[in-house]
Symmetry: C2
Subunit: 660 residues, 2 copies
């Protein structure tokens, strides 16, 4: 027991006190890696996804990439402006769930929550498997260990998040900033070289020749390429979902983080589009040998296979694999909000030992782990599915904000700035809604139908949970005043196998509670062939009746119950039933003396009779039956042991100071 | 919950009452398959093991088989005579453990128990893997599924034994009697043909030619062949270990069963020796392709590859695979005896739902399963190990009987019959002891050293268990008379998250127990960012203080405890500690209102707070802290559900009649 606790202490760290919460909040520098990993990593697969759709056009497809990236950048700009406003308007938490709950009603908010939850789970599985996929294509020797690598990364990310944000920070900060810096250099160099060479720079390592065109440009093709390219924007909503992770001033940190993430993402997307066209880089078939990703070809073309290439690609792999972390920031916070509204089980709202929502983290890890195992570590096919969730959330939160500003306008009269804000969010809602429709249609056959199927099931589950809590609250509500008329002591039933010290103490205690104490002994509980070794009757008069009479108490009754099926619960429940009928106003308290076990092996040395009797009595006993657990110790416990996992008071105070 | 119960009911059958025990006892016809499978199956590998050792002698080895079988048959006769006496002298249970406990002392009995337990576990693993080995050599297509087949057979045997003897009977009876009948026919035919042909019968399918001799006859070789051949006798002790499974007259059934088993085994061994020599059958190398067992060669030689051959070999496979069953009869009974003497955990002595010792059965299955998995289903190398255990048990029980008769002779003067009995058991002890020494020496390098190492470890474990129980008994013993001076009601602490109906009922109940009731509310238990939604203070005066005063009771105190670490146990234990210091003579009862969950999913919807608080209080609270579980039901439970898995009274009575 103490060993377990020590191991948990080392792995997860000591229990944190509530007052240490302020020290666990983050600023912009920590927030960019924590919340931006997913968005930044999107730049690695968004343009490539669009180029894959454009591949049949051959070289002509390259030019189209520009036409697709432009609206994506515009959309990103609109999203940026919209989310700035959301962060300001909902500084405690501005996720799609909160915004649509406040403005569009409970039902729509469930749709937003479901879309986000599916999105988060998929993002973990897809991010990790994409990262490991990139790694194993760089080092084919690792290919047989794909699933094991996926699960190992999942475990590391989960553990880091269970420990909490500041500790997890460095793990995610290093690769993120390295990725931004190195690709910033690559793309800047590429653009400069392109300008210097008049649009046709000479690649250091020439990318493979583009295949010949096999099709013509059609509107449908462009729409599909756009829908695929939109995956580059997933993750932008993370900041609004995680505002409560910021330290004060919350809005300022939120805005700065959002600006940094959108700025970096926009620059990366624009830079990639320009250099890809200039260096004539195309998407290759991932299922064929010799596959190289678009960014790998591009980097090699710009800087050659220098050490710098390997640093850049290495940071890219890390960013992809760790992009799952964004879900770990958002998902538990979202689940907490939903659980506080009684749509998810309450454990999701319980703050764990490290001030994080451990149940949400573990649930996310488990779901993603199941996906990884089921798909054997190759979940790339799920990528189209999760753009649907993200854009559904985008649309719902923008629409919610439109309603928000319209109400504000109606309420306070014409505030000019609010009208501008209404327009911004309106444009955001319209464009993301349009993109959502395009994505659903374009990706329907590829898997978007799964999302369309799963969403109503999840919503049904959420409403069922709510219904249970509503029923519970209705039953519990209205405590009202105590009704103390005709208050009577309970009848106390003490279960006993033999007359020993534990039972003697139990009977003494029972006599403190009530003048009506029955000692219940089940005969034949040991089985058919066993002679009744221990008997209670022998010293009853001497040990029980005489002392009780001497103390002026009515002597306890001895009740011998046959237990033909060797289990005590049946005969005891029958006795309780009969007693309740005879004494309709009395409560029956069953006192169970139990040897307390300190180590795991002590549990093996005792039968589970006391525990299973207790469970049966609580489950079937009814409102008028109460169970009293009467402990018997081989050695008196040391209470300090129970308290020593709480840190000395000095530690939290100093950590508070360091963050102030 | 009810689904689980229904499934268990179908798989294991209904719960049996104690009074049905008589109907679960068996007679000779059922006992021969139940207790004799191991012994009868031994004839399949004992002679073959001896022949394998003799293989280097070539054709000359065949003649030596006769010289080895003769002393084995003599030893079998001595064992038969000895065990008849044991069954009569110990008609309740005459296993090596009981006999040596009664005559040689507790320490020696532990040695016997350990030897038997190891023997039983090995027998299960070896029997099943040998059977499956024979099956896969007959049908090589099944070879990749060796481990799965082993575990499937283990599961079937385990389930049959968990259901209990009569139900398991038919499963084991059919192959056993088929095996005895078909090999009886084969061997009788072989002997008749041999006699008719003057010692040199013409085989229908000639066995492979014997290899040329590569060595000479040495005493050491013969001793090793004898030691290997002795494995043919394992399982003979099963009857004496399982006497309490018989219905009355116990001794008569025991003697008949023992006679049947030893008679069949002796005839099989003798017949095999005669026909093997006549038909010139040798042991083949099991690791080479085309391997055929001795009995397979012999059967083919006598009756050809007729359908009869396949029936005989099929029954042999079943008997080998099911020979594990003998362990399932003996092991749980042995463990029960040892557990009743406090050397094994008490759950081993608990009679399960089908009047069998379920824990022993499950433990045996688990240990054998681990062995099978570790050795990947090929545990044939363990065969030499388990002859050691069997012969150690033989020797100890015979020696015990020698002491028994000597005491009897000393006690009652010279009873002539007892002197004969003393001689019989003396001869048995001497011969099995000699055989044991031979086996340990001959098999030491092959694996007997493992047994020699494991035995002291197991004995150490057994004595440790005993020491724990002795300490527990010493603490519990001497109940003595109640001491009721200065009896005071406890201080009752009611934990409450909010003022609701459950808490109101709990406080009302607490006031039935004591005039000193404190309602304890932990603030900040939900975490740092959560506003204290539910407060107890609001209606305290109106709902609690006024009604209490009106009823003439001291109003309950409201105690607000800060829970900086969000867990209630720490602050509550501190409060209990302080309270105990202030009121040194009072007991503190903590009343925990808890919502009772009926289905598994309800457990997911609630936090584990009440349960973990209860556990911490019982573990660390100390002798003066008691926990009261106060149930709160969403719906009043139906008590009948708890009682309905007990069969109507008619059923057991009819089953009683059918076995009378």
């Amino acid at each position: 027991m103490n060993l377990t606790r020590a191991v948990v202490g080392v792995v997860l760290g000591r229990v944190l006190a509530n007052r240490e919460a302020a020290g666990r909040k983050i600023g912009t520098v920590e927030a960019v890696p924590a919340m931006g990993l997913d968005a930044v990593a999107s730049s690695a697969y968004g343009p490539e996804a669009a180029l894959t759709i454009l591949a049949p056009l051959g070289a002509a497809g390259l030019v189209q990439l520009g036409w697709i990236t432009a609206p994506i950048l515009v959309l990103l700009g609109v999203l940026y402006a919209s989310y700035r406003q959301i962060v300001r308007a909902y500084p405690s938490n501005g996720g799609a769930y909160t915004v649509s709950k406040a403005n569009l009603g409970a039902r729509t908010s469930l749709l937003a929550a479901t879309a986000l939850m599916i999105d988060y789970v998929l993002n973990v599985a897809v991010g990790i498997s994409a990262g490991v996929g990139a790694l194993t294509s760089a080092l084919p020797a690792l290919h047989p260990y794909t699933l094991a690598l996926c699960l190992a990364i999942l475990a590391v990310v989960t553990l880091a998040n269970l420990r909490g944000t500041p500790e997890a920070g460095w793990l995610f900060a290093l690769p993120t900033y390295l990725f931004i810096a190195s690709f910033g250099v690559v793309l800047a160099l590429g653009v400069v070289k392109t300008l210097a060479a008049g649009g046709h720079p000479a690649p250091l390592v020439p990318p493979p020749a583009l295949p010949a065109a096999t099709g013509a440009v059609t509107a449908w093709l462009l729409v599909r390429a756009f829908a695929s390219g939109c995956t580059a924007m997933t993750g932008v909503e993370a900041v609004s979902n995680g505002v409560d992770a910021f330290r004060g001033p919350v809005v300022a940190h939120g805005h700065r983080t959002l600006s940094a993430i959108c700025g970096v993402l926009g620059l990366l997307l624009a830079g990639i589009a320009v250099t890809v066209i200039a260096y004539r880089v195309g998407a290759m078939d991932q299922t064929r040998a010799g596959y190289q990703s678009v960014l790998s070809q591009l980097t090699a073309a710009v800087v050659g296979r220098s050490p710098f290439y390997f640093v850049a690609i290495g940071s890219l792999l890390c960013v992809l694999a760790l992009s799952a972390n964004t879900s770990f920031v958002g998902f538990p916070r979202l689940c907490r909000l939903v659980a506080e509204d009684d749509y998810l089980p309450r454990p999701f709202a319980v703050v764990g030992r490290r001030l994080v929502f451990s149940v949400g983290i573990l649930y996310l890890a488990a779901s993603a782990g199941v996906l990884l195992v089921v798909f054997d570590g190759i979940t790339d096919r799920l990528i189209p599915l999760f753009a649907v969730g993200a854009f559904l959330a985008f649309t719902l939160s923008q629409t919610g904000m439109v309603v928000h500003w319209r109400r504000a306008l109606r309420g306070r009269g014409a505030a000019r700035l609010d009208r501008v804000r209404l327009v911004i969010n309106g444009v955001g809602a319209a464009t993301t809604g349009a993109a959502l429709i395009v994505i659903v249609i374009a990706k329907f056959a590829e898997g978007a139908w799964i999302t369309v199927l799963v969403v109503p099931c999840v919503i049904l589950l959420l409403t069922r949970v709510k219904r249970y809590y509503a029923r519970l609250e209705a039953r519990l509500a209205g405590g009202g005043a105590l009704a103390l008329g005709g208050i009577e002591a309970p009848i106390v039933l003490v279960t006993a196998e033999a007359w020993n010290r534990a039972v003697r103490r139990a009977v003494t205690f029972a006599l403190r509670l009530s003048r009506e104490v029955w000692v219940v002994h089940c005969s034949n509980a040991d089985g058919p062939d066993v002679p009744e070794k221990r008997s209670l009757r022998c010293d009853w008069r001497e040990n029980v009746e005489r002392p009780a009479k001497a103390a002026g108490l009515p002597p306890p009754r001895l009740v011998l119950l046959p237990a033909p099926y060797r289990r005590l619960q049946g005969p005891l429940l029958k006795l309780i039933q009969a007693t309740e009928r005879r004494y309709p106003s009395r409560v029956i308290a069953v006192l169970i003396p139990e040897v307390i076990k300190r180590s795991w092996w002590e549990h093996l040395l005792h039968t589970r009779r006391a525990a299973s009797l207790r469970r049966a009595l609580l489950r079937y006993g009814g409102s008028r039956t109460v169970v009293i657990d009467f402990p018997w110790y081989l050695e008196e416990p040391k209470r300090d042991e129970a308290l020593d996992d709480q840190a000395p008071d000095a530690a939290p105070r100093s950590s508070k100071r360091s963050t102030a």
